[in-house]
Symmetry: C2
Amino acid sequence: MSLNKKDKFLVKLEKEVIKLDKKFSKLLEKKKPVSLYEPCNYILSSGGKRLRPYLLLVAAKSVGGEFKNAYNAAMAVEILHNFTLVHDDIMDNADKRRGRTTLHVRNDLSTAILAGDTLFAVAYESLLKDCNENHKEVVSTFTDCIIKVCEGQSLDKEFEIRKDVNLSEYKTMIHDKTAALLEASCSIGAQIANGTKEEVKALSQFGKNLGLAFQIQDDLLDIMGNEEEFGKSVGIDLVDGKKTFLFLTALEKAKDDDLELLKKLVNNNGIKKNQIKKYKNLYIKLKIIEIAEKEIKNYTNKALNSLNILKDSEAKNTLIWLANFLIKRSK
Amino acid sequence: MSLNKKDKFLVKLEKEVIKLDKKFSKLLEKKKPVSLYEPCNYILSSGGKRLRPYLLLVAAKSVGGEFKNAYNAAMAVEILHNFTLVHDDIMDNADKRRGRTTLHVRNDLSTAILAGDTLFAVAYESLLKDCNENHKEVVSTFTDCIIKVCEGQSLDKEFEIRKDVNLSEYKTMIHDKTAALLEASCSIGAQIANGTKEEVKALSQFGKNLGLAFQIQDDLLDIMGNEEEFGKSVGIDLVDGKKTFLFLTALEKAKDDDLELLKKLVNNNGIKKNQIKKYKNLYIKLKIIEIAEKEIKNYTNKALNSLNILKDSEAKNTLIWLANFLIKRSK
């Protein structure tokens, strides 16, 4: 069977992921002290989608750059992402990540905090290797992004205890916590490849809107995902009492008994597993699934539209494919 | 009574500390979300010696720069220092810092981890404001320093459980954990003020050796300090079983029963409070106090000698005074 167009892009992505995985497994391999770098290595070699570095590489290429001049920057955004996962997993008391035991469970709290801090610094170290003339702008973009990510994580933790979160606040939170790093990845890729101001802005917009679509898709997968493909139980956000896009939209639309049911989740900080179906049916009744799908499509279209100013190229086509691919993902 | 020369320098230092304190209390004052920045503010406004920013400012001035062009960089090294304190206090299970409740006790673990991460990023943000032509070198120096500090902290944690730590490893640890940031502070001050390569190197050496002297002085104060002035109980390092310069030197020199006594501390991960005097007397018997004092003097002299290549100036005199002042400190 011959590969169709979509498959061709997927093959390229998968090839690049293997390449990146190799680079990550080697990055800190021989560094000392082992007590510090072995845990860092464990995290960097634990796989993942490698979406952020791939975005950076393709963004660089889409404005005339080459992958080979952007690998260190690409690794920087992924290392940064991994730092946030290590610290977030501590804050969330998470035992598992990407099918592996989280660092604070595998080793201990101190090791996980310190490995996270080290990855944070190593991310800068890696970024600096690919910075030339526009060095200051690149480091500023990266730094601003990290501050946003911290703000987003803080809001996310705040929302766990607050009972009055609204949809607009939620969007600010996911912009900061998730979209900011995808935005920075695309922006830095374009900057490193000496893209014009217009190109950098267009790619930033692409990354940001892709990030927003990506997060709402994540919220949707929690309830509509296929358990086997998704890799985690369906409805966990409801069980955990998370105020997701779906939940907050439902809260805005619901009345009377439906509203009471939703408020119960807030007041009890979550629901029991055997209630998931009840809430899912309420989402369906209130047409929340359609609203979420529309929102994802809106953000994806915004992302795609911002690419219009770029010259046509294989890299541009890859970005377009990637945006559509992410909407259709099942995990 | 008129002020003598030493007092004049002290007055200048104290004036600068007040100025820095004000800047720190304003830096994040109005930023949102409050749940993130209030804890950051709590840390930045908790005082401290402000040694690192002062060193950076005076280093800048000693090569012809002005304080006003280096305040943001000065704040960056102090913010970075505060980030390490927040995370170290979690790792050390410390309840108090600078007479105030530590952040993870006052708020919670998540807040403290995230405030530390935010301070880390804010440090870069502040540094970038004072970077111009030699921007890349400055950010590299800062980044390399942070990696060293993480390595040093990792070694420090490793030494807590290892029973075979030697004096040479200890020196590597304190170089990384403590001296590296004093080294970077002086180096960055000189770089920002466009010092020559020779000047930057000389000031780096000054900072590094000052840092080593500073840490051994800290070890010495634990056993010889005046409890009231020092602000913490004497002998805590012994109680905690810390492998300090004093302890490891004693371990190298001791024989027979003395050696057995020292090994007991290692095997029991510390001693009881009522045994402090016994160990202090052993240190005195083995002349460990004199050896430590000599080592502190050696490093201080090395620091001072590296200043020889600088032109004579009030700033240079301030650095000389500061080195001597730190040796004589009692807390």
